[in-house]
């Protein structure tokens, strides 16, 4: 049920129970396992527009974090008998095991079109009385007023190297660079990509003050993706402001919005966001277009960048929103989409290499 009272009936999927969250849709045709473990979906009920979900099952390798992140899942049809050589269990089994409430068997295209025309809205998956459920839904804190970053960030610093997650105290020998990562809701594949380029990541809680970040003596700083309204993250923005100019900075998704705020710009909420694996982005510097993986509900306000020293480097070809900025004076740049893919196209992996080169420049 949506907050406007529209009811869609379906069958239960995953854990029994009730869940509320902001209902968003993702148009990717593959990648449900990565989506379900992407912390940027915290507080959201994800609707997958492709109708047949779970076909290739769930495997042990494609998790993007240690737990299921969205508040709930909506699909047209969940596959009970998947087929793929790596599959170890079904979508339903994963959801039931980890306590996520989902629903299937409803007209997902109808809900998608409603969100497209009315904008994203809060929703509830329930098996109870609709009128009472609506009251509970309206009593729930809305997405934009909640702080999700502090609940998805790491509690204690850790490191990520060639062998994956490791203790912070282990040696950084054998790596080319050390990267400090402000974890606002990281996906593992970002760390995997850096490790493949001989970079050891030191992952820090989102609210780590600037001095503590610099105390790790990093060669560069990464502002990670994450959920929620960036303008609510003043302590993080404050830290970024102090870090600018000290070390090369690269931001991904929420990191792009945090960089914008730290430079003095503003962000705004998109009507229904960009979530999928097919968004075209134009690089204004060389004129090329890249197909990107996206998952964001907020965007940088281009007018707010005037006088901040930042320039717009990339635009979304569909709706003209800002997809990348650069503040050359403070060696900081960021992109709004996901070069780490997982899910989505691998076409923008070059940004990891570019940032490593920037770290080489000091």
């Amino acid at each position: 049920m949506l907050s406007d009272g529209a009811v869609y009936a379906g069958r239960p999927l995953g854990a029994a129970g009730e869940t509320t969250g902001e209902v968003v849709f993702n148009t990717g045709m593959t990648g449900y396992q990565e989506i379900l473990t992407d912390p940027s979906y915290a507080g959201q009920i994800v609707l997958l527009t492709y109708p047949l979900i779970g076909n290739y099952g769930i495997n042990d390798d494609d998790f993007e974090s240690d737990r299921l992140q969205p508040a709930g899942l909506i699909v047209r049809e969940a596959c009970d008998l998947p087929s793929n050589w790596r599959s170890t269990r079904t979508l339903h089994q994963l959801l039931a095991e980890r306590g996520m409430v989902g629903i299937q068997g409803l007209d997902t295209r109808a809900i998608t079109k409603r969100i497209r025309s009315g904008g994203v809205t809060m929703g509830i998956i329930t098996h109870g009385d609709p009128d009472e459920a609506l009251l509970r839904l309206r009593g729930t804190q809305v997405y934009g007023e909640s702080d999700f970053v502090y609940s998805v960030t790491t509690k204690a610093p850790y490191a990520w190297g060639y062998a994956g997650k490791e203790g912070i105290e282990e040696s950084s020998e054998g790596y080319r660079f050390r990267l400090a990562v402000l974890d606002c809701g990281l996906k593992h594949n970002i760390l995997r990509r850096f490790a493949a380029l001989n970079v050891r990541s030191i992952v820090l809680p989102a609210a780590t003050p600037a001095e503590e970040v610099l105390a790790w003596n990093p060669d560069g700083i990464l502002l990670s993706p994450g959920p929620g309204d960036p303008s609510r993250l003043e302590p993080v923005i404050e830290a970024v402001r102090h870090l600018l100019g000290q070390k090369p900075v690269f931001g991904i998704c929420l990191g792009n919005q945090l960089l914008c705020h730290a430079l003095g710009g503003r962000t705004f909420k998109l009507k229904f966001g960009h979530r999928g694996s097919n968004h075209p982005v134009k690089d204004l510097e060389d004129g090329t277009v890249t197909i990107t993986s996206q998952n964001h509900g907020y965007a940088v306000d281009p007018d707010s960048l005037a006088g901040t020293g930042a320039v717009i480097t990339q635009l979304n070809l569909n709706d003209g929103t800002v997809e990348g900025i650069r503040a050359a004076g403070v060696r900081a740049s960021s992109i709004q989409y996901h070069p780490e893919a997982a899910p989505g196209p691998w076409d923008s992996r070059k940004y990891f290499l570019q940032f490593v080169e920037q770290m080489a420049g000091g």
Partner: protein, 560 residues
């Protein structure tokens, strides 16, 4: 540039049928939209593209160098678009270029350079390029003596394929599972070959066959239109295979590994326009091989176009005259650009249409040479419903998955029918599942992916429940919800009536059942094919029927 000459695909032959008329017509319209004068030559007057409205001037003449040169001399086109007329158009353009006709009249070839086309089509050049860009092609060995054969017995991967060079219809070839068979078959092949030469190639029988339709513009922007997964594993020509779009059994990593490979190939070749890449994928690992590339608008691109709503031929024509993907409008939405990748919120099933009903004595077995003369494509929200729709679209005797020939076949015969690809294998597979052989056993026999078999098993299960409900005369499960479920996964009303056994049953039960079928039959809705899974509002009225709640067409009718 003012006038552009477009070469059509000529007579309809296997693998080159009405889809090239569709592509050519789209291209002519796109070029005129860009302000060019279009001259068209095609030897086949029974086409839409030769209608007066399609091109500015139409020549219905034989597709050979002499006639084409005369048309060029008369029309003096500035450019020639060869990549939309199938292999016929491409071959003729190559002859015109090599014969100096194009140079003589100052005609520029538009779109993909000829050198790139040759590189894609010449087996050796293509393999060399793939090795350069580190894309895997199936390993092969040329053997010209028994000594050479002996030397490789321990290095080749088994099973492998033996192909003697220059023998009629591949006589003397075969598959070797072990070194003894390879030694014997290889020696025989060497004797039979006129040049005493055989080729030994890694066998990919049983691997998944996956295709990607990709596009590139002159600025190097590359996109995927659609990927497709074959129901029949490697060994059956993709034109003879049941195909589903998008792929169903590839995880995100596998999907994008193959997508990345396809884009790397189209970049390396320097294609300007559409291109089709065929890959063989190990069902039990991350390895894959590049099988073939079609450097032009092909039969598969016509299917991808209809499956996604993305006008591949139209965009290819615009790319050929120098427009780039980020400039060309996405005609379907009217608000976004052609530079994006379609997102489907439905499942597409293609079944080839073979002419065996007209040639009952022809060999029905399917392998690497295409035999289908047409195809049907169906769209629905589930694989089962799309498959059932496609079966009905074939306009053959079978309207569902029951086939008397296989129902009456003994177990041994049926096992052989499941193992051997023919036009009727789908029904043999369904019968095997109906006999309770299980998905594992049918997969072992047919190598068809278990995902497809599970779905067919689901359909057969509904069949069984309908038959059971008919026997129990309404005493068993709820008839209304069973009928709803049957409709939802694609059973037509006639099949439901037949399975319930109420076709000519006027008893109270029969009447109730028939009334319920009629009542539910009128409840399908129409959903739009909009290239973007509902993300943007769309203008093109292209719909499919399905049993859901909201009707996209109804909204459109109200709006107008």
């Amino acid at each position: 540039m003012e006038t552009i000459l477009v070469i059509g695909s000529g007579p309809i032959v296997i693998g080159q049928a009405a889809e090239f008329d569709y592509a050519g017509t789209q291209a002519c319209k796109a070029l005129r939209e860009e302000g060019y004068r279009v001259a068209l030559i095609n030897s086949n007057p029974a086409t839409i593209m030769t209608d007066r409205e399609t091109a500015d001037v139409v020549y219905i003449e034989p597709l050979n160098v002499d006639f084409c040169e005369r048309v060029i001399a008369r029309e003096r086109p500035d450019g020639l678009l060869p990549t939309l007329g199938g292999q016929t158009g491409l071959n003729l353009a190559t002859q015109l270029a090599n014969g100096g006709v194009l140079d003589k009249y100052g005609v520029r070839l538009l779109g993909t350079p000829l050198s790139a086309i040759q590189q894609a089509e010449d087996r050796e050049q293509f393999r060399r390029l793939m090795r350069e860009i580190k894309e895997p092609v199936p390993e092969s060995w040329i053997i010209e003596s028994p000594d050479q054969l002996e030397a490789i017995l321990d290095t080749v991967p088994y099973p492998c394929i033996i192909r003697p060079a220059y023998t009629l219809g591949g006589t003397g070839g075969g598959i070797a599972e072990d070194r003894e068979t390879l030694w014997e078959t290889g020696l025989k092949g060497l004797q039979l070959s006129m040049r005493s030469q055989i080729m030994i190639e890694r066998s990919l029988l049983g691997w998944k066959e996956v295709e990607y339709e990709v596009m590139r513009d002159s600025k190097g922007n590359c996109i995927t239109i659609c990927n497709m997964e074959n129901f029949d594993p490697m060994g059956v020509h993709t034109g003879d295979s049941i195909v589903v779009a998008p792929s169903q059994t590839l995880s995100d990593i596998e999907y994008h590994m193959l997508r990345t490979a396809s884009l790397k190939i189209i970049r390396a070749l320097g294609i300007e326009g559409g291109c089709n890449v065929q890959l063989a994928v190990n069902p039990n690992g991350f390895d894959y091989y590049v099988i073939e590339v079609n450097p032009r608008v092909s039969r598969s691109s016509a299917l991808a176009s209809k499956a996604t709503g993305y006008p591949i031929a139209r965009v290819s024509a615009k790319i050929a005259v120098g427009r780039t993907l980020d400039e060309i409008e996405n005609q379907v939405t009217g608000t976004t650009k052609a530079c994006f990748e379609p997102a489907l919120d439905y499942c597409v099933v293609k079944i080839p249409r073979w002419p065996f009903d007209k040639f009952p004595n022809a060999d029905r077995s399917l392998f690497t040479q295409m035999k289908a003369t047409g195809e049907v494509m169906a769209i629905d929200r589930s694989f089962e419903a799309a498959l059932m729709k496609a079966v009905r679209g074939l306009e053959i005797r079978q309207k569902d998955l029951k086939h008397p020939k296989y129902e009456s076949m003994d177990d041994d015969g049926l096992r052989r029918a499941i193992a051997k690809p023919t036009d009727e294998r789908l029904w043999a597979v369904a019968e095997g599942l109906r006999r309770g052989w299980g998905v594992e056993e049918v997969n072992r026999l047919s190598k068809v992916d278990k995902w497809f078999l599970q779905k067919i098993s689901h359909l057969v299960g509904i069949e069984r429940r309908l038959v059971e409900a008919g026997k129990l005369r309404g005493e068993g499960e709820d008839l209304s919800s069973l009928i709803a479920e049957a409709f939802l996964i694609g059973y037509p009303s006639a099949s439901i009536r037949r399975l319930l056994g109420v076709e000519s049953d006027d008893s109270p039960f029969g009447q109730v059942a028939k009334a319920e079928i009629e009542r539910q039959k009128i409840m399908p809705v129409f959903k739009m094919v909009d290239t973007c899974a509902g993300e943007f509002e769309s203008q093109t009225p292209y719909f499919y029927g399905t049993f859901e709640t909201e009707d996209d067409a109804l909204e459109l009718r109200k709006a107008t």
